[in-house]
């Protein structure tokens, strides 16, 4: 096979797979089976297109093949007789080339159903991530395995288990309504943001494959924002991811080391992503903007809007962290607030916020608490106390580079 055809098939698959699987899932009411049928159609394309060329309407071609396979498969399963009739009827309605695949408004609703189903709360977040990348983003199992640094067989098993779990739980192929919607939506958003963070926190060496994850996550987020346009948090998550991703180029130095926000060359920030991200945040705020992703996006926006690090509006950031603490009750967020308060009102004010965290059990072995306190004490000239905090932080961290950095600060205090 020519690599040109292979690349064209990859491109067609990326564009069509979600709509294909979603359209099939609506017909067979089983996303696992729908995905298998779609894969069969892909195999047929890989066999036939190098000879025949890519058809004019490749999406319709794939759908026609998958439906035919679906009829065959279901005919073998006698108990699903009614579905055969349904499939047969749909097939005979559309025997001529099917422009409706691209212009059928239901198809986009189906993609949204697919996202909700792939991210159903009966699945672990890892399983949701794997299914979403496979069925909605159209990645191959090998690609997903590489990005998550696991063996292909491990990832394949995870995907198979997840599909089976959906079938066994009899998860309906639908977009939830009413009170269920908020919970189900946060289950989808959580999976998308996890994909993003896997890419964003990648360390040197594994960078390339994983930076792609940031782009996949942003693409999934934008899809979701377009398909569930009335939900503020979908727009907020897109804004958050885009504003964070705008700094990807600036946040690693020549040796792969992390460059902190205050030291980044802001000329290297991606202005297009910032512009799109800020516009998306506006959209989120128009229809809400009080959720956790919205507050995080607003904090990210404060940094994005500052031409220089010293222009950062720390007073607003500290206040936004206050909102986030009220919403999440998270001591780690409170620690972030302490840092923001120290930037806004000085190290003594920040230190006072951290005092309130000393008895929190969840932070007892969290190295960033003494690390932040050490930093604030050093700024206040209380070097003996700073040293003790840095030494304690060094004891608690499991990262060697970080330990060395903390010990250096301890001996410098």
């Amino acid at each position: 096979m020519t690599s040109a055809t292979q690349q064209a098939i990859d491109a067609v698959w990326r564009i069509e797979s979600a709509r294909l699987i979603a359209g099939l899932a609506r017909i067979v009411s089983d996303v696992g089976l729908a995905e298998d049928l779609a894969q069969d159609a892909l195999v047929a394309a890989l066999e036939q297109w190098p000879e025949s060329g890519v058809p004019d309407n490749p999406g319709a071609w794939l759908m026609a093949v998958a439906r035919r396979r679906g009829v065959d498969t279901i005919r073998r399963a006698v108990t699903l007789q009614s579905k055969v009739e349904l499939l047969g009827r749909e097939l005979s309605d559309h025997e001529t080339p099917m422009d409706e695949i691209e212009f059928d408004p239901h198809v986009e609703d189906d993609v949204l159903r697919l996202m909700f189903t792939a991210c159903h709360p009966v699945l672990s977040v890892e399983a949701r991530v794997a299914l979403t990348l496979k069925m909605v983003a159209g990645l191959s199992t090998e690609e997903i395995a590489r990005a998550f640094l696991v063996k292909t067989t491990t990832m394949a098993a995870r995907i198979t288990r997840a599909k089976k779990a959906l079938t066994e739980a009899n998860v309906p192929f639908e977009v939830p309504v009413g009170e269920e919607l908020a919970d189900r939506l946060s289950s989808v958003l959580e999976a998308v943001y996890l994909v993003f963070n896997e890419g964003y926190t990648a360390t040197a060496g594994e960078q390339w494959a994983r930076a792609e994850l940031c782009q996949e996550a942003m693409r999934l987020g934008r899809m979701l924002a377009a398909l569930a346009a009335g939900e503020s948090e979908t727009h907020a998550l897109v804004a958050l991811m885009e504003i964070q991703a705008s700094r990807l180029r600036a946040r690693t130095g020549p040796d792969g080391e992390i460059v902190t926000l205050d030291k980044q060359d802001r000329a290297r920030w991606d202005r297009l992503l910032i512009t799109h991200g800020l516009a998306t945040l506006d959209r989120a705020e128009e229809i809400g903007g009080t959720g956790s992703y919205a507050i995080q996006a607003k904090i990210a926006a404060c940094h994005a809007r500052a031409p220089r690090a010293e222009d950062t509006d720390w007073v607003r950031i500290a206040s936004l962290y206050g909102d986030l603490v009220a919403l999440t009750r998270s001591p780690i967020v409170e620690l972030n607030r302490a840092v923001a308060v120290s930037m806004a009102d000085g190290p003594a004010a920040g230190l006072a916020v951290t005092d309130g965290l000393l008895d929190v059990a969840a932070l007892r072995n969290y190295h960033l608490l003494p690390s932040v306190r050490g930093d604030l004490l050093a700024k206040l000239g209380r070097s003996m106390e700073a040293r003790a905090e840095f030494e304690r932080a060094a004891e608690l961290t499991s990262n060697e580079a970080e330990r060395a950095h903390l010990l250096a600060r301890a001996s410098g205090s």
Binding site: A11, M218, R219, M223, H276
Partner: protein
Amino acid sequence: MKVMVLGKATERSEAGEFGTAEEFAAMDLFNEQLVEAGVVLAGDGLQPTSKGKRVAFDADGNTTVIDGPFAETKELVAGYAIWEVASMDEAVEWVKRSPLRDSEVELRKILDAEDFDDSFGAEIAAAEQQLRTEPAANQ
């Protein structure tokens, strides 16, 4: 990666015609699909070149401003978009789905880090460093 999509001008676009309602509706539907696929980062149409300007530089940096319209209609740009896609092939597949007729679309990858090899990168970094230090030295 980001791709810049350049919609080339036609006699009609240069005459300032917007196209029929049907053409508009078809293009809207196409754009909607692109947005729903999470591909679009930016995009807009442009006025005809009769309302445009060109600024030409000679070897010494002297400038001449030239008023439109410009010749070679097919080489002119009537609209642009910026898409985030996985590959140039994906961008091509998307363009094929566009309802455009009697027209041409040019696709250009926007340069990113992977387009520069290390030596070039180092050169740019050195040049940037110089730019940053020079004004300070002059003060």
